[in-house]
Amino acid sequence: MNSRRLLKLLGIIAITLLALFLRLRAVELLPIDYDEDDYLRAAQQFATAIQAGDWGAFTQLNYRTEHPPLTKIVNGLAIAPLPPAPEIPDLSTSAPPASSLPEPHWTVARLMEAAQSVVQVLILAFLNPLAALFLAINTWHIKYTSQVMLETLPSLTSLSTVAAYVKSNGKWNRWLLLSAIALGLTAASKYTYCIVAVAILVHWLWRQPRAGSQPFAKLKPLLIWGVIALVFFFAADPYLWPDPFNRLRDSLLYHTSYAQSEHVREAGYPMWQPLVWLAGSVPWHPGVFLISVDVLVSLLAFAGLQRFWQKQNVYALWFVVGLGFLLLWPTKWPQYILTLSVPVMLAAAEGFQSLIGEPLRDWLARVRANGIQIRRGRFSWQETRRALPWLAPGLATLLLITVFPLVFQTAVALTDLSTISLRDGLTGGVWRATWLGITGQQPPVHVGIGVDGRISVTVEVRDRGEVHLVPIAQSSLLAKEVHFAGLEWFTQIFSGIGADILVFDVMWTVLSILSQAAMGIGIALMLNKRGIRFRGMWQAIFILPWAIPEFVGILIWLHIFEPMNGWLALALGTPILWRQDSLLALCVLLIAALWLGWPFMMLAATAGLKMIPPEVYDAAAVDGAGRLDQFRFITWPLLLPLLGPALIIRAIFAFNQFYIFYVMSPPWPLFTFSTLSFLLLNSNTRLGGQYAFSAVVNVFTVIVLLALLLWFNRRTRIAEGVTYA
């Protein structure tokens, strides 16, 4: 065994131990959650049957029949050797969590779950150690695989299904047999995890090479695979045996009617809520998870999506199919995202490789080859001396009105400055608090951000050797002073607060830039065809939204979409309550942004098209290229590099968009970070006057933008060649 493999093995062991430690901690510390009482009761029933040797009861037992019984049976086996405890009462699904559960049964069942969870991390670690590390520290995965839920076993078996399928290479062998068995067990534990079967089917039909000339030769192993999966599903679900069709139908239909139920609708989650769960950490249970950097991992996953997809393996299809299902399915409970954990972690691993891993490796290789070289000789002292008088006035101004404010803002972000402590803050309190904090003379105060955005600040007060936590709002003397908060705000942001806004902001950026670019480029292509009539007139009309001041343009759309008295509401004769429906609100905002933004893209595309020499089209026509070929092989590849930087910069503008949100006032959390920061700053609003929090949001945005720009700059060198508005 060489040292590389040994290192990898040690890494895998370390990751597995980390996963084990974090899950044991969660088993110990997590409070009783919704449904845990139900699934423990189901396990108790199986345990009683096992103790009595009454195996026939298995065909009749399955408390909460809407979910297949395999996980409940496994937990029943785990607690069967324990002394019996009184059965947990039967309560409705929507009842609040139980106040206590029988011990040690509860802990043993949780440990059973955690053990399977660690096995899943171990399997993933053999496929991709980095992804396994991300899975090991993922707070959602820790939470829902360390409680008595139904997620752990199907997580494990669905990963096994796909991993064995990949190993089989699409041929009939023992790996494919293993994949089929795992799929059967997945179906017998929880239905939603069966999306992996859809991903495998698509992959099989689309990607696997044809075996010989017979079309059915390709399908034969697939059919066997499906039949074996069905057999194992049936075998592992004894509840189905007496009356397979009706019981299966009932359990499936339950979910469709539950998805329409009042209980689900009351939760009021937007369609994209699964993305919000995926993007952040578990916002409840502070102090349980120790590491919560899920925001960073999901940003890595977003950055790695392209590479992940380009590898075009079945995991990418798993991600696409699963995400599509979660977006469309009306029930949006957080535990559902565990169906996607594995592909997301793999995408994050790709993102890590392309953003950090490979650049670091390249740099190390360069250093090893040449030693560290400091670039020099790019300037001359003589020119520097001559440049100074030209630079000085502008540089001084910029330092004063942009750089110094940004430094000050960073200092504010490390404190708890708000309206109450404003006077102290403006007379040097910010610098004092930051200095005391950084030099360690003052311990940081604790800031808490509620899910509704309300903020509480507590300070540690020592009294006769005991430490008390005192909310500063209790003492006007404390409240009027600025305190050092350290990185408390940032840990709060990383632990899931603001994930909803992050998801919306990114989604908004992508959708608005795509719609504007599609319309702008499309119209520019049509308008610039040879022999189009009235071209000048159309262009003059089309650029109107670009010429109108942005503010007036947004007012125009407010006039149309105002819910009660807007033009559209009056025309239809009925109020349009789009502010109550997040999907509708997104559409309204996107339409307004499209109107405002597409003319710029049209003009940019027109300018780009003019730079493509017409001769290439003549040459292509000689070669017999059709219209579609011309577009695909000439226009598009030549246009894209010209438009790329414009797209990036407009995307950043969209990410920072603020005025549309200010005027149209969509519901929380359909905001960009700019809007949030403004609301926190503006003391006329409910959230207003939280200067420190506002500064924190800004600092976060600045860091994200800086990282994005550095990344783009490396790829396209926008900072050198081209200028833009």
């Binding site: 300037f379 101004t397 404010p405 803050g425 109107l544 007012l555 109107w595 933008l705 720009l709």
Partner: protein, 281 residues
Amino acid sequence: MRRVPRWQQVAYQLVFVFVALFVLIPLWGMAQMAFDASIKGWPIDFRILPKEFTLAVFQQAWDKPAQSRSFLGLLQNSFIASGGAMVLSVVLGTSMAYAFARFRFPGRRTGLFALLFGTLLPPVALMTPLFLLLSALGVRTTLFGLVIVYTALAMPFCIWNMRAAFQAVPKELEDAAFIDGANVWTAFWNVTLPLALPSIAVAALVAFLAGYSEFAMAWLFIDSSDNVTLAMAISGMVGATGASWNLLAALSLLMAIPVVLVFLALQRYLMNRLLIGQVGE
């Protein structure tokens, strides 16, 4: 490339008609209100044409539109705030842009990147600290405070854009001037600056517009009605009770029409300067 066949011509023209409707209908919906005397507050019924045609709304908008200031008074404040920012960022920016285009000095690349970054910074990111700093200096609620805020927003873009213009002027022209006895300053003033003037004008226009249509930050900073700008006045009417939408529409038209005319007159030119300033390093 072949000319498009007739049926395609018809199809394309149809598409253009639909797009033009998408562009123009919202505009018309706003504009027609400005000519309707019957609107008090929000419009209460759907109209495509004004119910009682009038020009009196514009008269009112001119005399006493909002915040008990005349239109010209509001416009004056707008011009002081955004014009001041324009002058500051262009004058200070020009010399800096020239330095970036002509001299090699340490930190030049980093500086360029920082300028681009400054251009792409969200306005709010500077607002929180500027709000606090200008409060501490006691100039937050004055028009001078607004000038500083708008300069901070516009200056990085101005420098970034003018640098490209200076770089496009061939260095040989300056060298020729040196041979004729010019120094750095006279060469800049007589040779480079006139050639780059069109781009400087565009940068100035963009800098001006950044402040001209800004209202949210301004409302945060300004609290006296004497210092209200035109955009602030209009945005203040949106939320206010009793504000009439025909007046709002008339003011919006008055605010937008000059800008639209300038853009239409300069469209080709603006696009070339703003978009494709391809300059090799």
